[in-house]
């Protein structure tokens, strides 16, 4: 088995009510430092740009977000090398390198990437021609943020959880071995 697989956040659609608290928490958490987004709406001076996307089907809903693939199609598609894998194997977009070519959006089979405006210092960044800077926006598992993924922390229904298959796989395989052991006499 591969060692050190990347983690990802997965939602249980049976618990999600579609309240979008995850999207807002994601936005707030990532814009706390650079854009002074705090606890009230009045502190928001920029477009709300989440890194996970609430999706509704006819029967249920849930936020869709990056799986941090081991052979990530987005990373492989990015000609600017703006998508990289950090030391924890998480797949991260360097928005300052992104030119908004949309290749990653098309490459991702989950729909986990959107092209959204980029803000700094409480205002949308502008290009030479005064159009706003847009970059690929996708889950970075709140890397560098204390407490881990904000979406997981705020979900009122505990529908989201951080999946660490390194541990889960080991626990499952040990359980399988134990059951083989337990049933060996029968």
């Amino acid at each position: 088995m591969t060692e050190n697989m990347s983690c990802y956040v997965l939602c249980d659609p049976n618990k999600c009510t579609g309240c979008k608290a995850c999207e807002l928490a994601c936005f707030a958490e990532h814009n706390k430092e650079n854009n002074d987004v705090a606890y009230t709406v009045g502190t928001v001076t920029i477009p709300v740009t989440p890194k996970l996307y609430l999706t509704k089907t006819e029967k249920y809903c849930m936020p869709v977000q990056c799986k941090h693939c081991e052979d990530a199609p987005c990373l492989n598609a990015c000609k600017k090398h703006a998508i990289y894998r950090d030391e924890n194997k998480q797949v991260i977009v360097d928005q300052s390198k992104c030119i908004g070519c949309k290749d990653c959006v098309m490459a991702c089979p989950f729909g986990a990437i959107s092209i959204l405006p980029v803000s700094d210092n409480g205002a949308v960044l502008l290009q030479k021609d005064k159009e706003c800077v847009k970059a690929a926006s996708k889950c970075d598992l709140c890397t560098g943020i204390e407490g881990g993924p904000a979406c997981v922390r705020v979900c009122p229904n505990e529908a989201l959880r951080l999946v660490d298959l390194n541990e889960e796989q080991l626990a499952k395989s040990i359980a399988t071995a134990n059951s083989l052991y337990d049933s060996r006499l029968s």
């Binding site: 997965l10 939602c11 249980d12 659609p13 049976n14 996307y53 999706t55 089907t57 249920y60 809903c61 849930m62 869709v64 000609k79 600017k80 992104c98 030119i99 908004g100 070519c101 949309k102 290749d103 959006v105 098309m106 991702c108 089979p109 989950f110 729909g111 986990a112 990437i113 959107s114 092209i115 290009q127 030479k128 021609d129 159009e131 800077v133 847009k134 970059a135």
Partner: protein, 180 residues
């Protein structure tokens, strides 16, 4: 998101009709009836052929175009949501060509123009999505195998939405399996 034309290597037969269609559209003259030396054949997209693949490559009309940021004279502009080079202002510095990660900007010599030393002006050239012609991209229209498609913002969003719904359905299956 800006629209762009995308080639499908599975359908492309490498016939280069798209390149001819592009020149016909932008030349504005009946090129098959005039002296071949009377115009320059400067398509804004190029069919790339390797041992593995044949497909036309052309501008992605990026949201934050590297070419536009690199242009020192500001001649790359967004017109009708397409990234367009104003060839009248271009000084042929090749900065955009170097900045573009897709290799879809060319420098071409412009027919009927001259610099002070008498040589032709050389300017940057790339797909402009046929803005202003009112017909939509010529390459898409002329391709005999329908290998080129104009990918609109709506089409893009629809495709992403479909993928998100499929992801949600898969997550539902996982949640159900784990609940059992």
């Amino acid at each position: 998101m800006r629209q762009f034309v995308k080639g499908n290597p599975d359908l492309c037969i490498g016939c280069r009709t798209c390149m001819i269609g592009c020149v016909v559209e932008h030349e504005g003259r009946r090129i098959f009836e005039i002296d071949p030396d009377g115009y320059d054949f400067n398509p804004k997209l190029h069919v790339v052929k390797t041992a593995k693949v044949s497909v036309p490559v052309q501008c992605k009309h990026c949201e934050n175009p590297a070419c536009m940021a690199a242009c020192p004279v500001g001649c790359i502009k967004v017109i009708n949501d397409a990234v367009v080079i104003d060839q009248k202002e271009c000084i042929g510095c090749k900065s955009c060509m170097q900045a573009c990660p897709f290799g879809v900007i060319d420098v071409i010599s412009q027919v009927g123009t001259s610099q002070s030393d008498g040589s032709k002006r050389v300017v940057a050239n790339k797909c402009d999505l046929c803005v202003g012609t009112g017909n939509g991209p010529a390459c898409v229209r002329v391709c005999p195998t329908e290998a080129l498609k104009l990918v609109s913002e709506e089409a893009m969003q629809e495709s992403v939405q479909k993928k998100r719904v499929a992801t949600a359905e898969a997550a539902k299956a996982i949640a159900d399996a784990m609940a059992d």
